[in-house]
């Protein structure tokens, strides 16, 4: 078993860094997770930030968390190749203990734009996802993992997510980031019990856990119904800490427990203090659950070499993704979206739009239109 490391998502963000400084000073941050592809506005990275990355890298306590690769895009793009090239270059500079990405494809016709949206769990998407994960592993030469998505269209999708993740990572002997706030969203939005959902995940494949806060949103369609969203802009709910206590003992190969919050949620002194309190609370749970270390049972590295040919593509999937993105980004409301979906090529397909929960269609409209 690995030692458990209480960690934070740490990026080049003034508010995050200011909130985290007291934690660094107290020598409490045992690892940092860096979203290496999110430096999209900063052309010049200050030397003190690269020094911080190097400090954790030299101690094998730096993990990379990609955001914009768009794992399930049906069409391979030059931007994806560029992403891999950059990852390869960064992996030569920093020693990442592992690299992770998000589940889903980015809405928006223009690749790295939009929000990650779920896909059908079918053989075509499985093959594309496995192909992309192999490319990421080949680029970084480190263990590669995939994070569970908060958003789901239907309860059936919620129940099948863990198994599909397991199938995706199998060829690279990869691992799963289990985001407990994402599970919390699904527990609430689909009224499912934690015990019923957690048993559907391959917990021996979990190497990292995320916790964070989020927000509530009213559903205009269903009066009184509140949708939980993974917006990372508020304190961690006590319920998520409770999930953390219950989940750690079930994950024998867990190594990192990461507190995530976006900088816009840390503007005030009170929010920075809350972030620190959340970290100390998480760290206390981690210490209470700390176990005696043995040699890692799981390397999470490919057990045998694999051949990378031409990137897999699917023109039908690509067309469906463009069509779906367009509908989600332009529909004026739920009814309009439903009309467009039923008239689209997604009707009566593996997307199973007929089973999508109305409140979640509303939610995905908001997500897609927020990030378009």
């Amino acid at each position: 078993m690995s030692k458990l490391h209480a960690s934070i998502a740490c990026n080049l963000d003034a508010n995050i860094l200011l909130a985290a400084l007291p934690l660094f000073e107290a020598e409490k941050v045992q690892a940092i997770e860096w979203s290496f592809d999110a430096l999209f506005k900063t052309r010049e990275v200050p030397p003190w930030f690269t020094a911080l990355l190097s400090t954790y890298s030299k101690n094998n306590r730096l993990v990379g968390h990609g955001v914009f690769f768009s794992l399930f895009s049906g069409k391979w793009s030059p931007a994806q190749q560029n992403w891999l090239d950059q990852l390869k270059r960064l992996s030569a500079v920093y020693q990442f203990d592992h690299i992770t990405e998000h589940f889903g494809f980015m809405t928006g016709a223009n690749f790295h734009q939009g929000a990650p949206i779920s896909v059908p769990f079918n053989p075509v998407l499985l093959a594309i996802g496995q192909d992309r994960l192999k490319r990421i592993q080949e680029a970084c030469q480190a263990p590669v993992g995939l994070e569970n998505l908060a958003f789901a269209y239907s309860i059936d999708e919620v129940k099948r997510h863990g198994e599909f993740l397991d199938q995706l990572i199998a060829p690279i002997n990869g691992f799963i980031i289990l985001d407990l706030h994402n599970l919390y969203c699904q527990i609430h939005n689909f009224e499912i019990d934690f015990e019923d959902i957690i048993q559907l995940y391959p917990l021996e494949q979990v190497r990292e856990i995320h916790i964070s806060g989020g927000s509530w949103e009213d559903s205009p369609l269903i009066p009184g119904k509140k949708i939980r969203r993974d917006t990372h802009d508020d304190a961690v709910p006590q319920a998520v800490f409770d999930l953390l206590e219950r989940t750690i003992p079930r994950c024998p190969n867990l190594k990192y427990i990461v507190l995530e919050q976006i900088g816009t949620g840390l503007k005030t002194e009170a929010s920075k203090r809350q972030f620190q309190q959340d970290f100390f609370k998480m760290e206390q749970i981690v210490q209470n659950k700390q176990r005696s270390t043995t040699k890692d049972q799981h390397t999470f590295l490919p057990s045998q070499p694999f051949h990378l040919g031409k990137p897999l593509e699917d023109v039908i999937l690509h067309a469906q993704q463009l069509e779906l993105s367009d509908i989600l980004e332009t529909a004026t409301d739920y009814q309009h979206a439903q009309q467009c979906l039923q008239a689209s090529s997604l009707a009566n397909s593996d997307w199973k739009i007929e089973t999508w929960a109305p409140a979640m269609v509303e939610t995905v409209l908001r997500i897609a239109q927020k990030w378009k």
């Binding site: 400084l21 010049e44 968390h65």
Partner: protein
């Protein structure tokens, strides 16, 4: 894990006054960034929503749900 005091001081100064160096990690960032957003966007984009005194303000965007 221990982070040197000098580095922590450099971070404090850096985020406070917005000092920058000439090191760039990405050659072609145009391919990596969202192009548009509105005033409520909490993902960084081409539009600088942040006050002028907040120079560094990147977001991992994993809270986009």
């Amino acid at each position: 894990m221990k982070v040197s005091k000098s580095l922590l001081q450099a971070i404090m100064v850096g985020v406070t006054i917005g000092a920058a160096s000439s090191c760039s990690l990405f050659d072609n960032q145009e391919d990596l960034k969202p192009k548009t957003c509105d005033e409520t966007c909490d993902l960084n984009c081409d539009v600088n929503h942040t006050p002028q005194d907040e120079v560094f303000y990147d977001c991992p965007a994993c809270g986009m749900g």
